[in-house]
């Protein structure tokens, strides 16, 4: 009979047995969206991939972008629970389960995208029956399945003690099947010392094992693109670049999930500002690393100016992919700004009249008007005086200045609401990273070496399937946290015990470790 702290019981265990109407409404809305997606996919399955707008040479498009995007999000779990557990960061305790849940569901949806993208999904077994190891797709299948299985076990292991706690502490009117489910999942967990020691060992081993697996998963996905000789893809930086991008979008997804769960189940007591601040610092490092890798990749191509590669880069910078590319850069800069500038600006600056929200909205409006003027208008007399190139450069400089002005205006609202700003940054980065995958796959596919250029715009089917898979992902997430505690109860309790111990006794400065006595070595080295 496992005891549980009364406050934890009220906050975490009770909501699992109450089904509020809001929950039903949310699930049904997401369900309908998912069904629409399934219907669109059924039609595509019946009629064939022709319903999408893919053509020659655009053979990979939205589905491939979704595939990389969802597998990218799945890296949130690895980063938070594994790396932080290995480095012993105490503040990870309340958010590990949310991160691991994101990993598992994102992996499911990710592999679903591959199946959706296949011409003959019914022949999926061929990849196992006569798979050729030389092809990166087989590496990808191997690594994703290993990662999927290990992340499910990594989700389940800490869940076992919680299931046992739920089994022993569920209210009398709890539905029978739910209690039976918890008893089954607890696998007869008694919580005695031997079991705890083995569980800790198991989790520790899995944490160390899952990190290289996760890094290999996303490197192999990037090598699916990098091992081809296509101009934009054949670059050796893709391995680490995709891993950094994945961890980055993973943290963004985690911010959204954390705030959502915190708001829905009222877990302010558990997921506090400390989590947001530390995760924000990781977010910033990943953001900076992402900028570094993007700059390194494109500078090499820009300096080399080899005709095939430069055509792809030109398409991104000022060609037909310029809007999505510069939107992506704008979003990443905004995410960086949201988390950095509020910390830097001293409070005294707030009194300056210019930094008010209403000024911010005014300057955003001015920027939008100028943008419309620049992109849509024919040569207006006002701009005729300067040569077109000069006027365009000046106009773009003015737009950027106005946007910075607006950002300054919003800074103090952001400083006042750290949780909201972190969530906004997370959301922006998710959209930004989806665009980043779009800007990597599409420009290369539409500018092949020989075949003439082909434009591409996603069709309705692809849109509906994407929307459907997103809804499915959120629905799985919400349903999971309807039946299982959002915060792993025993980890938080353990964290509380450690914190109490730490604050009471004074740990002496690090003395030479007792094990430091030199063990005699056979080779006398």
């Amino acid at each position: 009979m496992l005891a549980i702290d009364a406050k934890d019981k009220e906050k975490i265990v009770m909501p699992l047995f109450r089904t509020s109407r809001a929950f039903i409404a949310l699930v049904s809305a997401l369900g309908t969206l998912a069904l629409i997606g399934v219907a669109a996919y059924a039609r595509q399955l019946y009629l064939g991939l022709g319903v999408t707008n893919m053509d020659r040479p655009v053979y990979w498009s939205t589905y491939m972008v979704n595939f990389i995007f969802f597998i990218g999000i799945s890296h949130a779990g690895t980063l938070i629970s594994a790396i932080l557990r290995v480095t012993g960061a105490e503040w990870r305790r309340p958010i590990t389960r949310v991160a691991e849940a994101i990993t598992v569901f994102a992996l499911m949806i990710g592999t679903l995208q591959i199946i959706i993208d296949m011409g003959r999904p019914d022949r999926l077994a061929f990849t196992i029956l006569n798979g050729r190891l030389q092809s990166p797709i087989i590496w990808d299948i191997v690594s994703v399945t290993v990662y999927f299985l290990s992340s499910i076990t990594y989700l389940y292991l800490p869940l076992m003690p919680d299931a046992a706690i739920l089994r022993d502490n569920c209210p009398p009117d709890a539905p029978a099947w739910q209690v039976k489910m918890y008893t089954l999942l607890a696998l007869g967990w008694r919580g005695n010392r031997a079991q705890w020691v083995r569980l800790e060992k198991g989790i520790a081993f899995l944490a160390v094992f899952i990190i290289p697996v996760a890094i290999s998963v996303h490197s192999i996905i990037s090598w699916i693109l990098a091992t081809t000789v296509q101009p934009g893809w054949h670059s050796t930086i893709f391995g680490p670049y995709f891993v950094i991008g994945a961890i980055f979008s993973g943290i963004g997804a985690l911010f959204l999930a954390m705030t959502g769960i915190r708001k829905a189940l009222g877990l302010e007591g558990y997921i506090g500002l400390r989590q947001y601040r530390n995760l924000g610092l990781l977010f910033l490092t990943m953001n900076a690393l992402w900028f570094y890798f993007t700059y390194a990749e494109n500078l090499g191509i820009a300096a080399g100016q080899q005709p095939e590669e430069f055509v792809v880069l030109a398409a991104k910078l000022w060609g037909e992919f310029a809007p999505t590319f510069w939107l992506m850069i704008l979003m990443m800069v905004a995410a960086f700004w949201i988390l950095v500038v509020p910390k830097l600006l001293p409070a005294s600056v707030e009194r300056v009249a210019v930094f008010q929200p209403r000024v911010a909205f005014a300057s955003v409006g001015a920027a939008v008007i100028l943008f419309a003027l620049v992109s849509l208008s024919p040569r207006t007399p006002a701009l005729a005086a300067l040569s077109t190139a000069n006027s365009l450069t000046l106009a773009w400089a003015a737009i950027i200045a106005l946007l910075i002005f607006a950002a300054l205006g919003v800074t103090f609202w952001l400083k006042a609401h750290p949780v909201a700003s972190a969530t906004i940054a997370g959301g922006i980065v998710l959209v930004g990273m989806w665009l980043e995958r779009w800007n990597i796959i599409l420009p290369t596919v539409t500018h092949p070496r020989l075949i003439p250029y082909a434009a591409y715009f996603p069709s309705l089917t692809e849109g509906l399937v994407t929307l459907g898979s997103l809804a499915l992902f959120v629905m799985m997430f919400v349903v999971f946290f309807k039946f299982f505690p959002a915060v792993s109860i025993w980890e938080v309790a353990e964290g509380r015990v450690i914190e109490a111990a730490q604050s009471k006794n004074i740990m002496p400065a690090p003395e030479p470790s007792k094990t430091g006595l030199l063990r005699p070595r056979k080779f006398k080295l």
Partner: protein, 242 residues
Amino acid sequence: MSKWSMVIDLDKCVACQACSIACRFENNTPAVAPDQAEMGRAMRWNDVFPMPINSMEGSGEYPNVKTQYMTRPCMHCENPPCIKVCPVGATFINEEGLVEQNYARCIGCRFCTVGCPYGVRYFNWFEPQWEAPLAEHLNPDKVEGKGVLEGPAVRPRGVVEKCTYCIHRLKKAHAQAEAEGRDFRADEYVPACVQTCTGKARFFGDLEDPNSAVSQLEKNTRSFRLLEDVGTHPKTIYLREG
């Protein structure tokens, strides 16, 4: 105002290396000792070497052996990778489309030699010297100015040098035209290797003027350029054999 270019017809070229020798005498490139040449330090601005295109499979067994040779002056690219990397602007493209070399400014860091995909640039490892008789017959022409040293004037030690389409002949032709008070005609300026080619396989002229021999030949079906996929847009055009 003009884009100088050279066309080499490999069908007529007999690989007699006259162009290579003429270039060395015209531009005072030093002869190096045999051991240096063996290390690959010989100065051959206008190198003659086996055809790279099908040299991979070799050229048949003896007795029916067939080797093709090609000569390779500087390509004078329109997007030269060597000029981009020079830290001091010692090599630059002038308004006539020639990649010139200022030997007074070069600091010898050899970034351009490493950057050029054609391997067209050479480096003065030692102080150049000539044996007694050769020393008197150096080409006296000079293209010099304040802080500028180009053309065939003997280069100091430690600087990079390359084929400049005999830039001193161009400057002399310009000066001549000015002296006579008329404007400069394209056919007055011809590099030394084009002038001495025994098989008349080399043509030289201005790509911008449509009826010059070079622009006609550029449109010839047999014409190709070296390493076009690297994106340097070379201006030395070859005409394939057969």
